[in-house]
């Protein structure tokens, strides 16, 4: 048994990549030869300057593997046997003989010795590290050299406190780490596996992200605006985080809180501080990467920077008001939407039109929606949004409100980028929802029109997010919008289908085949799709449903084999008494029920009740009757059954236990 410690020392890795890199390191380690040494990873953590992996309880060597090598048949003679034995490093006497169809045959059992741990580690680790997956990487040793996120400056690699020798990117592995850039020892620090964490701690490096998180949380008062994303950024921007509190002049509080919070959060990585009543206090919390600020120099520096930022913001806020949004519409001609798609003015014209149509259809106030659409992108021409791009939309809403636009217009503009993620909330008002959908749908339609279609991980215009946003709004607000009427490209329609699939499956949690069944039926509105999925999910565990689904699959195949693409109603006169007429009667009865606009759960329950008649029909009746008229009529009956009841879902997509796909 043994232990292994690896630390890759680098220049500062971007905060948001560190966790991804550690996961990649773990995967590489486990899927390589090193994984065969077993053991438990008991430390996998990192700071901006190091990725650390520690494995306890490693085997001393990889287990031996026995391989049975087939040799010549005995009938091939003594010479062949000797040749084979020699090649396998053994003797003919030691060979195993076994009989197969062609006779007796020689086999050699070859033992591959498993390599010892130290050798495995030193030959495999360079590759394990070099293959870490980075969203973006760089060269530093020269053209064609290794690519990594930032230069590797040291490597600590110990196996039972012996150095695991290797070289990577021109750096030799050793037994030393480095402390904090400023607070730690200037010299490399020799460590053992046991002393590693403590020696780093003594040199102002907290290796564990959890511990840094706790240190930040303990240091900020409860009164801050909670912000997990910012917290994570700070955890991975620091090796020894220490929060400090600063303040700003209360006169800045006359600016909208959104602006102050954005400046603090996005540009300075500060937490906002709240009063007891939830309003913004004239304070902030910065998280430093050092051990304190006894002279207040760091605090004063940060306050000074924030003051300059707030002064800019105040200046923008006042200057931008000189020209209200309504006078900025034509300025949008000078703002690029996309090189080949023209300006934001062009986009605005399209969005006004589309939003107006959608508003009419969904019962939103048309005048409010059109006005909001017209002004929605004007904030892109304001100095405020040019400087603080995160404020797009929100800034426009604030300006609209300050410029006495109707409240509904201001709110719709404010919200129209929402939802920016699957976790984000959707716009608050119906007009805001309509504008958000129109804006996103326009982007999707236009990008698809000129072939800017996301592929694999490449989605520079965030079209997936746009489509997902539309779907989320339509579903959560239960807006009865038939999207397909607003989509004129097959590619975009397939794209939406894929996104709906994702939404129904990954967000709402329906099974794969339930979603496929619903999406294979005619597309309607999103709430309707979700209700249908709910119906299927509800009816699925009942005993009649899956057998019926299997029968539908069978009907589909029969119709396919008979090449029936369409058929009229069955002629009752041609139906024979017994199972055939019974099925027809049952069909008529269920059709009556499903036409009554009941819930999908009810309708599906009555469809499932067809099962005995369907089963009996297939048991007793031969569809392929010698008389073509009867045969056609039976096919017509099946056809009616299939088409009438497949509008909720295509049941043949349901994966059934018995695998009833055969006809």
């Amino acid at each position: 048994m043994g232990d292994f410690l690896l630390e890759i020392g680098t220049e500062e890795i971007p905060d948001w990549m560190i966790r991804l890199a550690l996961e990649s390191l773990r995967e590489n380690y486990q899927s390589s030869q090193t994984g065969k040494l077993r053991g438990t990873i008991d430390l996998l953590d990192g700071t901006p300057r190091r990725l650390t992996l520690r494995v306890r309880g490693l085997d001393d060597r990889i287990a031996d593997v026995e391989e049975v090598v087939a040799g010549p048949y005995v009938s091939a003679g003594e010479k062949a046997a000797q040749g084979f034995a020699k090649k396998q490093n053994t003797t003919v006497e030691a060979l195993r003989r076994e009989t197969d169809a062609k006779g007796q045959r020689y086999y050699a059992v070859v033992t591959h010795k498993g390599e010892v741990a130290a050798a495995v580690l030193s030959s495999v680790i360079p590759d394990v590290v070099a293959r870490i997956n980075w969203p973006k990487s760089m060269c530093w040793t020269g053209q064609g050299g290794i690519r990594f996120i930032r230069p590797i400056r040291w490597i600590l690699a110990l196996h039972n406190d012996e150095v695991v020798p290797f070289e990577l990117a021109g750096v030799r592995s050793g037994n030393t780490t480095r402390g904090h850039r400023i607070l730690g020892s200037k010299d490399p620090l020799p460590v053992t596996i046991g002393s590693y964490e403590q020696i780093l701690r003594d040199n102002f490096v907290i290796v564990r992200a959890d511990e840094r998180r706790r240190k930040i949380e303990a240091g900020v008062a409860k009164s801050i605006q909670p912000d997990n994303e910012l917290l994570e950024t700070l955890v991975y921007l620091t090796e020894f985080p220490t929060p400090i509190r600063g303040s700003f002049d209360a006169s800045y509080l006359e600016l909208p809180k959104e602006i102050l919070a954005t400046v603090m959060r996005h540009h300075q990585h500060y937490f906002s501080v709240l009063n007891e009543d939830g309003s913004l206090a004239p304070q902030f919390v910065a998280v430093t990467n050092t051990d304190g600020d006894p002279e207040g120099l760091i605090r004063r520096g940060n306050e000074r920077v924030l003051r300059a930022r707030f002064n800019d913001a105040r200046f923008f806020w006042q200057a931008d008001q000189q020209k209200p949004l309504r006078d900025r519409v034509s300025d949008l001609q000078k703002v690029t939407f996309q090189a080949r798609l023209g300006s934001y003015k062009d986009k605005t014209d399209r969005v006004v039109e589309l939003a107006s149509q959608l508003a009419t259809q969904l019962g939103a106030d048309v005048a409010t929606t059109e006005r909001a659409a017209l002004l929605s992108k004007c904030d892109l021409t304001t100095e405020m949004v040019k400087e603080f791009t995160e404020l797009q939309g929100v800034g426009g809403g604030l300006y609209a409100e300050a410029q006495r636009e109707p409240k509904g217009v201001a709110t719709a503009i404010y919200d129209h980028y929402k939802p920016v993620s699957m976790e984000d909330s959707i716009p608050r008002t119906l007009e805001g929802k309509v504008l958000s959908i129109a804006d996103k749908l326009d982007t999707l339609r236009e990008c698809f029109r000129i072939g800017l279609i996301p592929t694999g991980s490449k989605d520079p215009f965030a079209l997936r997010r746009a489509a997902q946003g539309i779907i989320k709004i339509l579903f959560e607000a239960r807006l009865p919008l038939e999207l397909s009427k607003f989509i004129d490209s097959d590619e975009l329609s397939a794209f939406f289908r894929e996104r709906m699939q994702f939404y129904l499956r990954d967000v709402l949690g329906y099974a794969y085949d339930e979603v496929s069944a619903v999406l294979a039926a005619p597309l309607t509105t999103l709430p309707d799709l979700a209700d249908r999925a709910d119906g299927i999910h509800f009816i699925r565990p009942t005993e009649d449903f899956e057998p019926l689904a299997a029968s539908f699959k069978r009907i589909k195949n029969i119709l396919k084999q008979a090449q029936v693409e369409t058929a009229g109603q069955p002629d009752p006169a041609l139906l024979k008494p017994g199972p055939e007429q019974d099925l027809h009667q049952a069909f008529l009865r269920v059709r009556e029920i499903t036409k009554k606009n009941g819930s999908y759960r009810e309708n599906l329950a009555s469809i499932a009740s067809l099962r005995p008649q369907v089963d009996l029909f297939f048991d007793k009746i031969l569809v392929n009757d010698p008389d073509p008229a009867i045969r056609q009529n039976r096919l017509a009956l099946l056809y009616s059954l299939l088409t009438e009841f497949s509008t909720i879902a295509d049941f043949s997509e349901i994966v059934t236990q018995g695998g009833g796909a055969s006809a």
């Binding site: 760089m138 500060y270 520096g301």
Partner: protein, 297 residues
């Protein structure tokens, strides 16, 4: 307290002591120190180089008539190129901060991801903005490509924003309050320039004349590149003069932009035109300096 010029002298001294050539600013209008040939051309090819220089950098659209405490039409960058990058480059950089009087033990320094890209120059790099107590004081970039070409030796580019750093060191709220030299403030030295050029750039520059100039320089650049291709004596060919045409075009583009004369549809096309020239010059420069390798590539 060190004056603006003291700090500049100290930084130059510091990098001179580490083997850098101390160059003077390039004498054409540039938007950043990166555009000076001492960076744009010297980072190309396999020859090591170390240089530091102050580069006044003109960004017409950033002008504020001398009224904004932190925004300038023209600011001073101290640009350092270390090619190839020494292993201890960050320690050297931190040492330069100590050299101008920043006691790092008492401050908070962070390296935050910030990659750099110049579409007009076909150049990009990976790096950080260096934050001192929440203030961005330096852009640190590992150059990866320049003029559309992968770089043989990866250089580090360290760009100090001098006004910001000195305003921090002198603890003043406005760059105009910086003491440039004993008895002279930044305002005394530069206010008039900021005001007058803002007026010219935003209000008076003759758009039609700027367009003509742009086209003249573009054509001259193209003509020279064609001559280079046909030339049998490439070693003596004025590639450097050809590069000046790129700089002229780039600056004229910035002026036209500040003047609001570039429409959305034109913009991308014009950037591509300047880039085409820049890429042509970069290739010519490599060919001139390493004829065999470039031919093979």
């Amino acid at each position: 307290m060190d004056s603006f010029q003291d700090t500049i002298v100290k930084l130059k001294r510091y990098w001179a002591d580490r083997g850098a050539i101390i160059q003077e600013p390039y004498d054409l209008e540039v938007g950043a120190g990166t555009m000076a040939p001492e960076t744009f051309l010297r980072v190309l090819g396999p020859k090591p180089y170390k240089v530091a220089y102050v580069q006044p950098s003109r960004r017409p659209a950033d002008g504020r008539y001398g009224q904004n405490p932190n925004r300038l039409y023209k600011h001073q960058q101290l640009q350092v190129i270390l090619k190839p990058t020494p292993d201890d480059v960050i320690d050297q950089y931190l040492g330069s901060l100590e050299a101008i009087g920043i006691d790092l033990r008492k401050h908070d320094i962070k390296f935050e991801e910030d990659n750099w890209e110049s579409p007009t120059l076909g150049a990009w790099g990976i790096g950080w903005q260096v934050m001192l107590d929440g203030l961005e004081i330096t852009q640190f970039t590992y150059f990866q490509q320049c003029g559309g070409m992968d770089l043989d030796l990866v250089p580090a580019e360290i760009t100090y924003g001098l006004e910001r750093i000195v305003a921090f060191l002198q603890n003043v709220e406005s760059v105009y309050e910086i003491q440039w030299a004993p008895g002279f403030k930044y305002a005394d030295v530069r206010s008039a320039e900021e005001q007058q050029f803002s007026i010219y750039n935003f209000e008076l520059a003759d758009v039609a004349a700027l367009w003509r100039e742009f086209e003249l320089h573009e054509r001259e650049g193209q003509r020279l590149l064609e001559l280079f291709r046909a030339s049998t004596d490439k070693e003596r060919f004025p590639v450097l003069a050809t590069y000046d045409q790129v700089l002229k075009c780039s600056h004229l583009f910035n002026l036209l932009d500040a003047r609001g004369a570039i429409s959305v549809t034109e913009r991308v096309g014009i950037i591509a035109r300047v880039r085409k020239l820049a890429v042509g010059v970069a290739q010519a420069w490599c060919e001139q300096h390493n004829p065999r390798e470039s031919a093979a590539a």
